[in-house]
């Protein structure tokens, strides 16, 4: 690395005259900070504006009228009615919300349980085929979902012939699919986490006559809490925002089939409908409603969210 050579020569020349006189306070880059600092702040502030302004613009839009939205981007809402919000809610956002919560409650529980079980066994027990199964799981995280979409559609459709509870446009079917597609990453992440935990506690529990299953649930799971939380947050966001799978699998199968759209999917449908009915305030209100829980979760857990998502990719 070239840094080493630089570092080797320069201090020798400097140390005699300059460095001792300089108090620690004034250590700074040779090119000062002034202009560059303004410059960098400018760029950072600009990018921050580019993110905040569109979002606020949408929220404001839900208070405007159709004519105002179509007329000029700079119009200001004339009165602060919540009509658009109630319209959006009755048009189905409320239902989509409930659907999403039902599916996520099931799929997240299942993902975490099955993912932790598989990762734990793979990380902590030696047996024939261990590596093969592990690589099998890891490989699944590499490829885009839509490659499997065609056969998956028919797989779920066939499941529906076993029981209507499992088929297309069913909660349970989607729960299983979400779980299956979250497993590779969950196993991959928790595998390295379980490996990094100390073995002594587990051994002590085993000597005391604890069964393997109990050792897992009462000793290892509590010890792995921080890793579990990271991957949980990752899965919450991933599944909450999933779009492709519900669009393919959660279409109404007949006229009498209830609409079980997920939030992201329902919002897109609403966007198409509002385009026809020119109800842009309603659409913007729907978006605001969909963004709000994400914003609340994000702001309250932003440290964990950032740490969880990035450590996930770094490992």
């Amino acid at each position: 690395m070239s840094t080493n050579t630089d570092a080797a020569t320069v201090p020798a020349q400097r140390s005699g005259s300059d460095a001792p006189r300089k108090p620690a306070r004034e250590q700074r880059f040779a090119d000062g900070g002034g202009i560059l600092n303004v410059f960098s702040h400018g760029f950072l502030a600009l990018w921050a504006l580019m993110i905040i302004v569109p979002l606020i613009w949408i929220v404001l839009g839900s208070f405007k009228t159709n004519a105002q939205i179509g007329g000029s981007a700079w119009s200001w809402p004339s009165h602060w009615h919540l009509d658009a919000f109630s319209r959006a809610w009755t048009k189905g956002i409320g239902g989509f919300f409930a659907n999403t919560v039902i599916v996520l409650a099931g799929s997240l529980t299942l993902t975490m349980l099955l993912g932790a079980m598989a990762a734990y066994v793979l990380a902590r027990y030696e047996f024939r085929g261990n590596r093969t199964i592990y690589y099998f799981f890891v490989a699944g995280a590499m490829f885009p979902v839509y490659l499997a979409l065609v056969p998956l559609f028919f797989m779920v459709k066939n499941l529906g012939q076993i029981s209507p509870l499992l088929g297309l446009n069913s909660y349970l079917g989607l729960i299983l699919v979400y779980t299956a597609y979250s497993l590779p990453f969950t196993v991959f992440f928790l595998y390295s986490f379980f490996r990094s935990l100390p073995t002594a506690v587990h051994e002590a529990a085993m000597i005391d006559g604890c069964s393997h299953t109990r050792a897992f649930f009462q000793v290892m799971v509590p010890m792995a809490k921080s890793g579990l939380i990271s991957v949980f947050i990752f899965n919450v966001l991933g599944q909450w925002n999933q779009y492709l799978l519900p669009v393919t699998l959660m279409q109404q199968q007949s006229g009498t089939d209830p609409d079980r759209s997920m939030l992201a999917q329902g919002l897109m449908n609403l966007a198409v409908q509002s385009g026809y009915a020119s109800d842009f305030p309603g659409l913007f209100a729907g978006m605001t409603i969909a963004m709000l829980p994400v914003l609340v979760v994000y702001l309250s857990f932003q440290k964990q969210v950032q740490a969880g998502l990035t450590s996930a990719t770094l490992k």
Partner: protein
């Protein structure tokens, strides 16, 4: 004290593996099988036609156009996102005016990180609807509204953004960059914080400027992270389905105007769902699969450098 190990292992692995094989591995494998048939998708009837789907694919001018667009995305998206993210991360961590400590980030770094990262947690559906509003072609669109206000464009001839054949795809790239930069910024930031401060301090004692510090210290030490980011962005560039299919004009799964923003994923879905050419769609899937595979392997091998321990 010895409990029987194998029933436990099998008991714990059975359900996850079953679910995973049935709903993930098996469909992936089936895609390969179907790609050699003339299956329509509607019935179970199909004939084995060998590699004919593939030969047809590479004579299909729309597919080649879509492939070209994907390769363009592949080139531009990682480059722009990584450069912006690196720049911002460097500013946040090392770019600040130094006070009592030698090296530090700019003021408000935590705030910037929270804001920049936020788009990452928004659903693609929200991104899509949001940017359809931003890219509106009349003055009600945020971007046109701002540009007219700034006097940068003529109010009577507003830009067509997504509806413009030459601009459509770039608008989608813009959304991908907008939402992605924050994530990679936080990723690079975390990596930069792992670099010991004394390395920077040594450099600035030696009179290194910011640019020099960045290119001679930060970048080499972050190389591995940049490489990871590259692979992730490459995979994202091969995907981009949700945004293109919902934002760009076109009757089924977007791709318009007139295939100018067509990508392989939208073409695949249109062939599968709309045209009933499931076998052909599967062949496209296999091509995308191999491109992704080759990309990941190549970018991990070619860009490999010596690992620097610190």
């Amino acid at each position: 004290m010895r409990h029987r190990k194998y029933p436990f292992i099998v008991g714990f692995l059975f359900l996850p593996v079953l679910l995973y094989v049935a709903l993930v591995i098996w469909p992936y494998l089936q895609t390969f099988g179907y790609s050699m048939t003339d299956w329509s998708g509607a019935s179970q009837q199909m004939n084995f036609i060998g590699l004919r789907n593939y030969t047809k694919l590479f004579g299909d001018s729309t597919f080649l156009l879509a492939l070209q667009h994907n390769l363009l995305l592949l080139l531009v998206l990682p480059l722009v996102t990584i450069l912006l993210a690196l720049f911002f991360a460097f500013m946040l961590n090392v770019g600040g005016r130094s006070g009592t400590g030698g090296v530090q980030g700019v003021r408000g770094a935590a705030f910037y990180k929270v804001v920049f990262f936020f788009p990452q947690v928004l659903s693609v559906a929200i991104l899509s609807v949001l940017f359809q509003g931003v890219y509106r072609t009349d003055q009600g669109g945020l971007l046109n509204g701002v540009l007219v206000k700034l006097g940068l464009e003529d109010a009577n001839h507003p830009w067509q953004w997504l509806a413009d054949p030459d601009l459509g795809l770039w608008c989608v790239v813009g959304v991908l960059v907008w939402s992605g930069v924050g994530f990679y910024l936080v990723l690079f930031s975390a990596a930069m914080q792992n670099v010991p401060k004394d390395i920077y301090e040594a450099a600035l004692l030696d009179g290194a400027g910011r640019a020099q510090t960045f290119f001679k210290i930060t970048l080499p030490l972050l190389w591995e992270t940049v490489q990871t980011a590259w692979v992730y962005l490459a995979i994202a560039a091969m995907d981009a389905f949700a945004l293109v299919s919902t934002m760009t004009p076109g009757a089924y799964y977007g791709g318009g105007p007139d295939h100018h923003s067509e990508i392989m994923a939208t073409l695949l879905m249109r062939n599968f769902i709309t045209y009933g050419k499931a076998g052909y769609a599967c062949a496209m899937g296999v091509v995308i699969f191999f491109i992704t595979l080759v990309l990941s392997v190549v970018s991990l091998r070619v860009t490999r450098r010596e690992k620097i321990e610190f």
